[in-house]
Symmetry: C2
DNA sequence: TCTCAAACATGACTTAGATCATAAATTAGT
DNA sequence: ACTAATTTATGATCTAAGTCATGTTTGAGA
């Protein structure tokens, strides 16, 4: 979906400063959010305060549709990772978009499928595999996005919040993976080889 | 989607006997499967042989689209839970369906959203919560589908395979939940109150 | 280049849930 | 109604990962 098109339609652009909350669990969904600029993380928080990163959304991507489409309160927080500008598209406009822009509708179906695929993979990992395997799987997944020689701009804490492990475990496990030669690290950072 | 319509179009009806495999991990997707009659489970299996139930699909539902839509090999097995009849719709026909049947396209978007919602919920559970909480969450989820007084036709093993726990743990935990009055059991079966 | 906060590291101890073994209760098929 | 096969049950260990405590390294901003 072309963001400019949405702006042309007169839809409102909202700004969120780093770490501000866009929506939180329990709220009734009213908008789908298209990111014009910035980055947003979607996290669920357990009763004991443990965070789990459900996803990260970047410039050009959108989030919040599933809850809106099936009309159920949000499960997660979405929080700006950086100062961000988003366009909030209300329900009616979003349904219009699906109806009248067949390309968008197809694109949405693909996006949802991709996310579903990722979640299925992670579910399998969390349900069945132990720390090392779990870690290696997301590391490889994240490495897919970057170029050889680059390093992952992700902290151990973030890896922990994506795998359901604790920082200490992630630290110990990455060390083991590096020793086994399954990943390469430089000054703590994980680099693509 | 109306199954009869698909049959009228001359699409082939395939039969699978209980426990036969419809597709397995690694295969390149060629069809989307509409269930005319029966029931199918989608399971991933870890290296150590542990099964995880990704989903269960019943008469009138369809499965296998995400992999086909994003053109990635299947992650899971799908296996007939009962003798089943399914219509295999090939890629071209499926894309036709999305393009030419706006109702179907909307329905598909909603279906994908619902599954995404369920997976997000389960991910949060597996990543952060302990056995009892995890179990109670799927039990309540499953109870949503049945009437008061009815009991869940799910074995402890199946609950284990949905939560990533082991049978013994599920057995011990259900007992605890029943003692706490959070669920009700009769002759081992969990009943809706 | 110095300082402070964030991120990484490591050891010691605890624990939830896995594993293994064995038995009782249900259910299904004849 | 009777056997065989599932499914549920329970006790005794074992272990991966969590927890807690206390460093050390790295990097961002003055």
């Amino acid at each position: 979906m072309n963001i400019q098109k949405l702006i042309d339609k007169g839809l409102k652009l909202k700004s969120y400063s780093k770490d501000s909350v866009i929506y939180e669990p329990g709220m009734q969904p009213r908008y789908v959010y298209f990111i014009k600029l910035g980055e947003v993380r979607m996290v669920t928080v357990s009763d004991e305060g443990k965070e789990f990163i459900q996803g990260v959304f970047k410039t050009g991507q959108y989030f919040g549709e599933p809850a809106l489409l099936i009309d159920r309160p949000y499960l997660a927080f979405t929080i700006a990772n950086k100062d961000s500008q988003v366009i909030a598209v209300n329900k009616e406009d979003f349904f219009e978009l699906i109806k009248n822009e067949p390309d968008f509708s197809m694109e949405l179906i693909r996006t949802l499928s991709t996310r579903l695929f990722y979640k299925s993979m992670m579910l399998e990992e969390l349900a069945s595999e132990k720390a090392d395997h779990r870690l290696l799987t997301i590391i490889n997944y994240l490495l897919g996005d970057i170029a050889v020689g680059e390093n992952l701009k992700v902290t151990r804490q973030e890896l922990a919040d994506m795998t359901g492990l604790r920082v200490e475990t992630v630290i110990r496990s990455t060390k083991i993976l590096a020793e086994k030669g399954l990943i390469k690290t430089m000054k703590g950072k994980i680099v693509k080889v």
